[in-house]
Every structure is written in structure tokens, then in C-alpha cells.
Amino acid sequence: MGKLRGNLLPPALAILFSALLCGIALVVSGANPLRAFGAMVSQVGEGTTAVDIVNSTGVYYIAALAVAIGFQMNLFNIGVEGQYRVAAVVAAVFGGSVALPPGIHALAIILVAAVTGALWAAIPAILKVTRGVNEVISTIMMNGLALGLAAYLIRADVFGELRGNNIRTPEIPSSGWVPGIPLGSSGTVFGLVFLAAALGIGYWVMMNRTRFGFELRASGESSTAAAAGGVSAKKMILVAMLLSGAIAGLVSMPEILGRDHTYNLNFPAGIGFSGIAVALLGRNHPGGIALGALLWAFLDKSGLALDNVGVSREIVTIMQGAIVLSVVVAYEVVRRYELAAEQRRVGRQLGTVEPVGGAA
């Protein structure tokens, strides 16, 4: 009970606090916050927004899982952004240039994406293991390289083709598509949203029910202690980074195999960074991440309604920033409060502290 409260109270407080902050920002800028929030909530029922939220939740969920695996090992994989972009281009080029039977084609594309993501993540992992290069710096630089590489690969004289003013990779034939769940005018739920759910379950099992997961968490807590227990920290870094990259490689698969069937200039950016925020919000717990991804997707998609009521949509960005910041603070506050409460309780039981010592 106490554990649940310790886990759920901080995010709830953070959301409340950031809503309050945005409300104040809205009042200051002369808008009606209730009308703005109302527009956001009612937007969920409009058009395809509900389905878009579900689809987007799946995408954010995969990105956050990739980040969370790194976090478990004390690795800050900022490179999810670049890993999913490179994986998307390579997988789209691969998918558009091979002919395979239905099903196998899609599976092969997904596999290529995962392998590409892992390989892209392998570079900072190897640098860290062999040369001690901080993965924060190397993955940020790899993000820049990823952008350049992706831009090169889709040039019309490399793998891309020109479509009006857009450039894109050759379209993946229908044998490589993953069908979704059509809901008529409400849109189509990506079939690969279920891949996200499966990855979440797999992540939980791996972390909590396997020796590897235990070793990973142990090395993350203290690499020296784990080493004393016979766990090679270097091996764990390498494996964790590769896994993180492989999952990051899957981030764009729901959209590419479920809707776009190609990588083009409209490819969304920033999902990797959102994934970091979602993983923080969900405290690396598969359930928490799911809630965080849902919240993020809701803010993103329903924020589009704000333009309609004359409120600047950037308020959503303020809200997302405030949530991340305050959730970190809130966890710390609640942790300290519970630590103090624990100390008081133990103190009372041992009789070393006066029962009236509420001043602590």
C-alpha cells in the first residue's frame, strides 16, 4: 500500500502541479484555462484523435522502453533519436527493394530495423567499453550523424526517389505491410501497437524473472558489487546498449508498416527525446511507462485542438516540460518524506526519539 502510494502520488502531484502552472500561464496570456483544457478533452472524441492517441502511445512506449533498458544499467541512451531514424531509413529501403511472401516480408523488415538500431547503438557501446567514452556525449553526436546519414541515404541518386517536392524511399509492397484494426471514420489502429505491448511484457519478464535482468539491475546499482558477484560490467553495458538500440530501431515500425510504407521527408523527429521523458515519468516500470506514454500522446494529439480555440499550442510543450521537471522533484520529496517517516517509526520502536518529536 505504501509502496503503491510512493509510486503513484508523485506523478499525480506532478500532473496537477503542471496543469496549475499552465493554467496560470494561460490566465496571464489572457486565455481561459478551463476552455482550453475543455477543448483538449473534447478533442479526444473528434475525428481520428482517439485512434491517433492509441497509435502514438504505442510509438512512445517503444521509445521509452528503449530508454528504460539503458536506465536500468545506469546508461543514459540519448541516442534513441538517431537509432530509430537510421533504422527506419535502412528498414524502409530494405523493405522497398526486396520481394518476399506476405508476413515474412514484414517480419524481415522489423528484424532489419532492430538489427540496424542495435548496430548504430553498438558504436557508442564499444567506445564506452573499450575507451571509456561517456555514452551521453557519443550518443548525442551519433544523433547528428544519423540525421546526415538518413539525409544521404534518401537522396534521389542513392536510394530515394523524387515525388513532387518530397523525397522518399521506394514504397514497400503490400506484402510488407502490417494490417491494422480499421475503425471506419475514426481511423485505423496500427497492428504493431500490439508489438509495443508485447515488448512491454517481455521487458517486465526479462527484468524481474530472468537471471540476465537481475544481473543488469545489479550492475546498474553497483558495478563493483556486481563484479564481485561474477558479473562482467562491460558485458552488461554492451548487451544493455545493444538491446536498447534494437528496441529503439522498432520505434518507427508501427507508422512505416502500418501507414506510410515509406520513409519520406515528413518523418517525425523528437520521439527519442519524448521517450526519455516518458521513461522518467514511468520510473522504468512497464506499467508506469504505459501510463506516461498515454499521457504524452494525449497531450500531443489533443493539443492540436488548442489552435481552434485561439490558444497557442506551445502551452502543451510547457505542460510536458513542467510534468517532467515536477515529477522528478515530487519523487524526491515523497522519498524524503517517507524516509523521514520511516526513521520516526523506527525511532519510536527503539525508544530513542521522544514520541512528541514531530518537529523532524
Binding site: D52, A150, R155, L162, N308
Partner: protein, 381 residues
């Protein structure tokens, strides 16, 4: 210890990058200043003078658009970018005054940079379900979304600036011959440059912006075959922040000025403000894009360096489209807004283009219209 190592690596890499940048800037600077005297380019033969153009006045018939509800979905930057989107906004404003559009019968929404495809679809769908018709999507990025949304609203007349949607009968493409207008400002740059060295700053390295670069380079070379050209894009394809990053524009513009270029042409959306600032700081001249930027209030502090602007008359296209919808005569719209229909052109505001240069420009323009000069829309290298 580890922290120190990391810091050291970071520092050295930053420093080596800075050194590289400085190095390359220095060498080309030397090359630029040594190669030419300060008197300007050795100019090619001027084109034959253009025949006096018979200006075609508007057809004069008053079109009533007061029954229309017009929706506009801007590209990133939106109203206020002093460039591409503002040009579309100007067309909308003209429709308000000339066609009698009611102020509350207009809705404008703006895209966020790097947003997902479904956000664009939602934006178009919002406009369509609220009864806006016609709807103008500003920017080729909407092409994929329109392919999905347009068939869902067969009665709504859509238009897309800079793009086309195959097979959708209710989508009118509004495309431009940017390379032709850029050719003319390339000529202007060649005539204005003292060092015979000009620069091009593109927002994002995508085919659309490469058309500007291609035309500019061909125009400059046509007017002065020996001219030197700097070119740089702010971000690679896929990262659209290059259209709204004035700071980056300023750094790149400054780099080109230091390399010796003294006329900078920018096709960089809202980042162009930074390029203007760099030109002003470096005593260089600048050429604007899309709108007549000399008269744009958002870049007013740098207006004295703006010698001209390549006009991409998105305003004309948007206005003509709305007018054609009001008249129910979409077939009257040109297939491509090029020099012939004044869909592209150059601005003379600010008085930096004298009569001689204007005659030269009109000569080139006549040759392009007559097909004697074909301007390629792809950069040569």
C-alpha cells in the same frame, strides 16, 4: 578522472571543429579577395532588351466571395515568418478585402516542426469538418496527408502550395517555377557583387530549396561566368528546424561573408532573418525570398541591406485559387506559376536596382519566357 577525460575529449573535439571552420573560412577568403579587384565581376554580354511588355490588366469583374469559408493550414513558421507563409497570408488578406471574405469566415492553423503525419491530417480534418471550403494547405509537407484526407471530403475544394496529389480530383496543385525567379536574382547578385563572390543559404537541404539554389547559380553564372559561389544548407533533409533557426542562419551567413561573399541570397524561411543580420554586420548585401522582404516589418532592422527579393507569389496563387473557387472556374488557374504568369519574379523595393540593371533583368526574363534560356531546377553539383 573519468569526468576529466570526458571533458577533455569534449573540449578537444569542439576546439578542433572550431579550428577546421576557421581554417576553411580563411583559405577561401584569401582566394576570394586575391582573385578579383573590388570593382565587381567581369560581366557577360547583356541579353537583348525586352520588348515593351503589354501589361495585362485584371479582368475587372467583381467576384463575390462573401459566402466562402476559407481555411488555411500553414507550414512550420506560420503567419509572421516574413517569407513563405506570410506570402500565403497576404493572399488570404487580399481575398478578405477584394472578395469580401468575412473576417470570421477564415481560419488559419499552423504546423509544428517535425510533427507526425497524423497531426497534419487532424489539422486538415478539423478545417474540413468545421465547414471550411476551400482549404489551402501551405507547403508540400501536406501532400501525403491530403492524399488521405481529400477523398474523405469529396465536396471540399483543397489546394496545396508546392505540391500535388495524384488522383485526387478535389485537390488543386499550386506549384511555382522557383528556379526562374532565382535565376533573375542570381543576375542581380552578380551585378551587385563587388568581389564577384556571392553566397546562397538554404534552410533545409531538400529538392524544393535546391531549385532556388540551382536557378540562382545559373543566373549568377549567366551574368558573370567567373563568379564564385558559396552555398550552404542549415540542416540536412529530415530536420526541418532549418526553416526557423535565425541564429543558425546568422552563423552560416557570417561564415559566407568571411569567406568573401558580399551578396547573400537566402531561401531559409524564418531563418532568413539571421542571414540578413549577418549581411548587415558584414557590410554585405542580401537578397530576400518569397515575399518582398524589404517591406516586411519583421526584418525591418536589416532592410537597408536587402537589394531585392525573389518573389514567389504564393499570395497570387492563394488569391487566384480562392477567386477561382468563388467563380467556380478552377480550370482558369495556370498549371505552373512561372515568370510568364508573374507567379515568380523579383522585387525592386528599396531602389537598389537601377534602370540599367532593370533592363538587363527584363531582357533575361523575356528570354526565359520565350524559351531561349531554359533554367534547370537541379543544382549542377
Amino acid at each position: 578522472m573519468r569526468g576529466i577525460a570526458v571533458a577533455a575529449i569534449a573540449l578537444t573535439s569542439v576546439m578542433s571543429m572550431a579550428a577546421c571552420a576557421k581554417d576553411s573560412g580563411g583559405t577561401s577568403n584569401n582566394a576570394g579577395s586575391s582573385g578579383t579587384a573590388a570593382s565587381g565581376c567581369k560581366l557577360a554580354d547583356k541579353p537583348p532588351a525586352a520588348a515593351a511588355s503589354s501589361s495585362t490588366a485584371g479582368d475587372g469583374t467583381k467576384v463575390d466571395g462573401s459566402a466562402l469559408k476559407v481555411g488555411l493550414a500553414y507550414d512550420i513558421g506560420g503567419r509572421g515568418d516574413a517569407s513563405f507563409n506570410d506570402s500565403a497570408a497576404a493572399g488570404l488578406d487580399k481575398a478578405k478585402t477584394d472578395l469580401g471574405l468575412k473576417a470570421d469566415a477564415v481560419k488559419e492553423l499552423t504546423a509544428a516542426p517535425n510533427e507526425a503525419e497524423d497531426a497534419k491530417q487532424t489539422r486538415l480534418r478539423q478545417l474540413a469538418t468545421e465547414g471550411y471550403n476551400p482549404i489551402v494547405a501551405v507547403g508540400f509537407a501536406y501532400a501525403e496527408s491530403l492524399k488521405v484526407v481529400a477523398p474523405q471530403f469529396p465536396d471540399v475544394k483543397f489546394a496545396i502550395v508546392d505540391g500535388a496529389v495524384d488522383g485526387a480530383t478535389n485537390v488543386t496543385p499550386l506549384v511555382f517555377a522557383e528556379e526562374q525567379g532565382s535565376f533573375l536574382v542570381g543576375v542581380i547578385a552578380a551585378y551587385q557583387s563587388k568581389a564577384c563572390h556571392v553566397g546562397f543559404v538554404g534552410g533545409v537541404d531538400i529538392p524544393l530549396i535546391q531549385k532556388f539554389e540551382a536557378g540562382y547559380a545559373q543566373g549568377a553564372k549567366a551574368a558573370a561566368p567567373d563568379i564564385k559561389l558559396e552555398k550552404k544548407y542549415l540542416t540536412p533533409a529530415g530536420d526541418f528546424t532549418g526553416f526557423q533557426d535565425p541564429a543558425k542562419g546568422q552563423v552560416v551567413g557570417q561564415g559566407q561573408v568571411e569567406a568573401g561573399a558580399d551578396v547573400l541570397y537566402q531561401a531559409a524561411g524564418a531563418s532568413g532573418k539571421g542571414v540578413f543580420a549577418a549581411a548587415k554586420a558584414g557590410n554585405a548585401k542580401a537578397i530576400g525570398v518569397d515575399s518582398d522582404q524589404y517591406n516586411q516589418p519583421t526584418v525591418a532592422e536589416s532592410k537597408d541591406v536587402i537589394v531585392s527579393s525573389m518573389l514567389k507569389r504564393v499570395d497570387v496563387a492563394v488569391f487566384d485559387f480562392v477567386k477561382a473557387v468563388a467563380k467556380n472556374d478552377l480550370a482558369s488557374l495556370p498549371k505552373v506559376f512561372d515568370l510568364k504568369v508573374d507567379g515568380v519574379g523579383y522585387a525592386t523595393s528599396g531602389g537598389k536596382i537601377d534602370a540599367d540593371l532593370a533592363a538587363v533583368l527584363e531582357g533575361y526574363k523575356a528570354q526565359i519566357i520565350a524559351g531561349k534560356i531554359t533554367v534547370s531546377d537541379k543544382p549542377s553539383s
